[in-house]
Each structure stands twice: as C-alpha cells, then as structure tokens.
C-alpha cells in the first residue's frame, strides 16, 4: 500500500474509473443498487486512507464482490428487481459524433449472457489486460478471450455492423 496523498489519489481514481465501475456493477444490479455499491467501495477506500498497490484491479474486484453479494441478498429477499439493462437510467451519454447509437449499444450489451457482458464491460472500459480481467472475474485468460470473442461476434450480429464489407 502506498500512503502518499491518499485522498488525492483516490479522487483521481474516482474520476478515472467511477463510470466504468458503475457500468460494471450494472451487470448484476439495477441503477441505484449499482450506484450504492460503487459508493460503498469508494467510501471504504477513503475511510482506510490507503491506496492499494494495483488500485484499478482492486476497485473492479471489490465492486464485483459487492455487486454479487448485493444481488444475492436481493434474490434472497425475493425482491422483484428489474433485469439489468431492461429499464432505468441510460448506461451511456449520447453524443452527436458517436459512431454507434448509445441506446442500441445498451440494448445489445444487455442482451448478452452475463459472463460475456461482464468480460466486455471490463475489456472495453476498465483498461485491464486479459490476465487482470481473469484475476478479477476468476477465469483463465484463455476463457476470458473466448468469452470476449463470442461477445463481440454477438454484438456485431446484433448491431448489424457489416464488418466483412469494410475489409473490401
């Protein structure tokens, strides 16, 4: 653990990764529960005043554990939660220069199986390597790559992007 300017470092971590962490938590939870999970993790990090050695992987691992725990407790209580991505707040902020429509991309991501969706969220927005994703999600790197390739193929079909035509 490094202890130099911990609050400043944590603030930087929040600015850099909070959105990706929120999206990651949304793979299991609805909007507000996902936000609660991310908030709890950052509050814990701020209260400890110590930044872990690999803070990015630590944050994603903590959010994953907290989100799965919250999802299980919700399921035990028998609450009829909405499926992730079915309704609620948007995952993305639409911009005019986006090459893909944000709402369509959200729907396509939400239609993926849970394992593939988790890998895509980690791969595209966390900045973690395949081995780090494997350590966070508890899978082998080859399994991570397999899930990622399958997910991208499914997304391509869903978004109807003519990938092969672009090569000609």
């Amino acid at each position: 653990m490094s202890s130099t300017h911990p609050q400043q470092a944590i603030t930087q971590l929040f600015k850099a990764h909070s959105r990706a962490l929120l999206l990651y938590a949304r793979q299991w939870l609805d909007d507000w529960a996902a936000e609660d999970v991310v908030q709890r993790v950052f509050v814990r990090l701020l209260a400890s005043s110590q930044v872990p050695d690999d803070p990015r992987a630590w944050l994603f691992r903590c959010v994953r554990n907290e989100a799965i725990s919250a999802w299980r407790s919700q399921r035990r209580r028998g609450r009829n939660e909405k499926a992730a991505g079915a309704e609620g707040r948007a995952w993305f902020v639409p911009r005019p220069d986006d090459s893909i429509d944000a709402t369509t991309a959200q729907e396509a991501l939400a239609s993926l199986p849970a394992e593939q969706r988790e890998i895509v969220a980690l791969r595209l927005w966390s900045g973690l390597t395949l081995s780090q994703i494997g350590s966070v999600s508890g899978m082998a790197a080859s399994t991570v790559h397999l899930h990622y390739a399958q997910a991208m193929n499914a997304l391509r079909q869903r978004l109807e992007v003519p990938c092969q035509k672009q090569n000609r």
């Binding site: 909070s18 209260a47 993305f92 986006d98 080859s142 391509r156 992007v161 990938c163």
Partner: protein
C-alpha cells in the same frame, strides 16, 4: 482502449470494439465530496466506537476488581462458635471441652450465689472429690439500696 495483446481480435472486431468503447459512460449521481463526507463520518463513528469499547472494558475491569476485593474480605466479624467448638472437640481433652461449654444448672447458680455472699470459703474443699451438693439458699442477699418489699 486496452493495450494490444497476443490474443487480440481481427480488425473489423477491433473497430467495433473501439466504436462501442468510445461511447461516453453515464456518470454517478453521487459526487466525490459526498463520499468523502460519508467516509469521514464512517471513520469518526468507528473511532467513537473504539473509545466506547475501551471505556466499557475499563468499567468492566474496575467492577470486576471491586467485586473480587469485596469477595476476599469477610462480610461479618462475628465469631463462629460452632466452628470453635468443633475445633476444640477435635484437639482438646474433655476438661477443656467442659470449659468451653459451661452447663448452667441450679447447682451452679446456687454455688455462684454462695460465693458472692460468703466469699471463697463457700467453695467446696476439692473440685475433684465427691462432695455433697451445696445446701439450698435460705434467703437471698439483700441489697441495702433496694427498697424492701
């Protein structure tokens, strides 16, 4: 975008990944300042809880010490006659036993009255010999200060 790795996708898939990854993620509704406040509140609550636990432990240990001392000192200073008699029976002769348990009988009372009124001459010649019981008192000694009835 993630760094290039050996197991990377082909170009079209990479372009798709870049397009999806280029979308701007929705921010959290809670600002970092509010989380800092919550973290400070949490840290203060933990610190207060720690002091509360320390105070409770001190109070408990003090109470236990007082209770232990109170238990160690005897609660009553009254002599335990039953214990003494038992001890004397176990360790002394029958004479000593008679000394510790005087039998108040009419004969003894009469003897005491005789000693009080006539002095040591009223005692029998020898306590060990078989003697006749003292004669009964004919009249009680009169106190000159008491009114006559």
């Amino acid at each position: 975008m993630p760094e290039t790795e050996p197991m990377s996708l082909d170009d079209p898939m990479q372009q798709l990944a870049e397009a999806i990854g280029g979308l701007e993620l929705a921010p959290l509704q809670t600002p970092i300042e509010q989380m800092c406040f919550a973290a400070g509140f949490e840290a203060g609550r933990k610190r207060a809880g720690t002091w509360r636990r320390i105070a409770a432990m001190i109070a408990l240990s003090a109470g236990a010490t007082i209770a232990w001392d109170h238990r160690a000192t005897p609660t009553s200073h009254a002599p335990n006659y039953a214990e003494r008699i038992t001890d004397s029976k176990a360790s002394t002769s029958p004479i000593a036993e008679r000394t510790f348990s005087p039998v108040i009988t009419a004969a003894n009372l009469r003897l005491r009255q005789a000693v009080l009124s006539n002095g040591w001459d009223a005692l029998p010649a020898s306590a060990g010999e078989e003697t006749a019981p003292p004669r009964p008192l004919q009249s009680m000694p009169s106190d000159p200060h008491l009114p006559r009835t």
